[in-house]
Structures are given as C-alpha cells and as structure tokens.
C-alpha cells in the first residue's frame, strides 16, 4: 500500500474489523508510515479510554417511588408467548 489508507480504514483497522488481507496491507503501510501509525495509536487510545469509563451512575434522587406509582396504575404484564 503506497498511498495512505483512508481515515475510515484506519478506524476499522483499530476496531479489528478488516479482513486478513486488508489488515495485512494496512500493517505493511503502518510499518513504513509514522504519521499513520500515530493516527491508529490515537484511535486505539481513545477507544481504550472510552471503554474504561464507569457505566453506572447514581441519580440525584431515588426514582423508584415514581416508577412504583406508575406500575400500580398499569395492568399486570402478560405471560411470555
């Protein structure tokens, strides 16, 4: 691969979504191209940071009472079909 891969290709490479032949071609390019290596590294770093964010948050107040009131007014759910 003599021309720089498109940005979308670098994202897909960072995501591991390219097939083996395309991934090999990108890897060969990266071995010789520091700017593209840096682009892929930036994408991987961002992905890792996003994946490490906490995925549980405490609301400012207990929300259950509001849910329970509405459930009391709703019909019982049907059995699975």
């Amino acid at each position: 691969m003599t021309t720089h891969p498109a940005e979308a290709v670098l994202h897909e490479h960072a995501d591991g979504r390219l097939d083996a032949a395309d991934a090999d071609a990108v890897e060969r390019h990266l071995a010789a191209c520091a700017p593209c290596r840096e682009r892929v590294e930036r994408i991987r770093t961002l992905r890792a940071r996003l994946a490490a964010l906490p995925r549980a948050a405490e609301p400012r107040r207990d929300l259950w009472a509001g849910v329970a009131t509405r459930l009391d007014e709703a019909p019982a759910p049907p059995e699975p079909v």
């Binding site: 979308a8 995925r55 609301p59 849910v67 459930l71 759910p77």
Partner: protein, 180 residues
C-alpha cells in the same frame, strides 16, 4: 451487546416479578437502574431528562416483561429498552438534536457527571457531551457500552455505513476536543 457488568444476581427473575407484582419488580429495578441512568445521562446530557427517561424505561420494562424470552440477559434487554425509549424521546424533541454548546450547560453536565460517577474522566465526559447528538449516541453505544455496529444499526434504523461514518466523525471530534 458484548460487554455487561456486573453479573446479574440469580434472584433477578422476571417471571417472579410478573407473578408477585410491582413490589417484586423493585428488585429488578435496584439491580439495573444505575447502568440505565448512566447511559441516559450521557445520551441526554441533562440530569432531569435522564431521570424521567430512567423511570419511563422501567415502566416500559414492566409493561413488556411478557416479551422477554431470555434470549439475552435481562440486563441487556433492559438496556435495549432504555436506548429505544431515549431515542424515541430525543427524536420527538428537536432541541436535543443540538449539541451541548453553551458553556453553562456543559459545566452543569460536567458537574452532574462528576457527582453521579466520581471515578469518571471529566475531560472525556465534556468531549462526549459536546458532540452532535447523532454522533454522540453512536460513540456511546459502540465505544462506551460495547454494542456491535450491527446492533447499533438495528437500534437506530440506519445502515452500518451510517454507523461507521457517525462513529468515525465522533471519534475525530472527540480527539480534537481532547487535544485542545
């Protein structure tokens, strides 16, 4: 969804909640509300709206328990209900189509994110919040929540190509914001 935490307690049985009524459903709520609220807070960047949507989500979960067939975990299913609930509301409210650009709004959101998730990274939270709503939703679902592209395309009713272009745009904008 490929990533789920924490493991669900065995007691979280939707059939029991269905048999025993709303009081038993509280156990299901208590096991899952924090993950639902975290996702909705990031999707909306608005604590009040995220609280309302969290309640709407669990009412809808209760009403549709009969359609839960156990093909995925209960947590994954509840999460999907939350995403669908939020998307419906956000589509109906064009105000949320705008990114959070006002400095005051961003500061208010950052303060709530820090209170609700003390271990979070505020620079990242601000960069996510400043994204256009569509790109933000895709980034959250793929890179934070671990959904596959195909699942996001199905949830949003768009092509996989659209998911990719939104995701790549979101990442580019977030990297630029983080480097400023």
């Amino acid at each position: 969804m490929t990533v789920l935490d924490p493991p669900e307690p065995a007691a979280m049985d939707p059939s029991a909640a269905r048999r025993e009524g709303p009081a038993a459903f509280e156990e299901v709520y208590r096991a899952h509300y924090r993950r639902v609220y975290a996702l909705l807070l990031r999707m909306t960047c608005d604590p009040l709206r995220a609280e309302e949507l969290t309640q709407d989500t669990f009412v809808r979960v209760w009403q549709t328990l009969g359609s839960f067939r156990g093909e995925s975990s209960l947590g994954t299913w509840i999460h999907t209900v939350a995403v669908r609930t939020a998307l419906q509301q956000m589509r109906a409210d064009t105000r949320r189509e705008a990114r959070v650009t006002a400095t005051d709004d961003l500061a208010r959101y950052a303060a709530e994110a820090k209170r609700a998730m003390p271990d979070t990274r505020i620079d990242l939270e601000r960069a996510i919040a400043a994204l256009p709503a569509g790109a933000r939703t895709v980034l959250l679902l793929v890179d934070v929540e671990g959904y596959a592209y195909e699942e996001v395309a199905r949830l949003l009713g768009v092509t996989i190509g659209t998911v990719k272009s939104q995701l790549h745009r979101a990442r580019r904008l977030a990297m630029e914001a983080l480097e400023r």
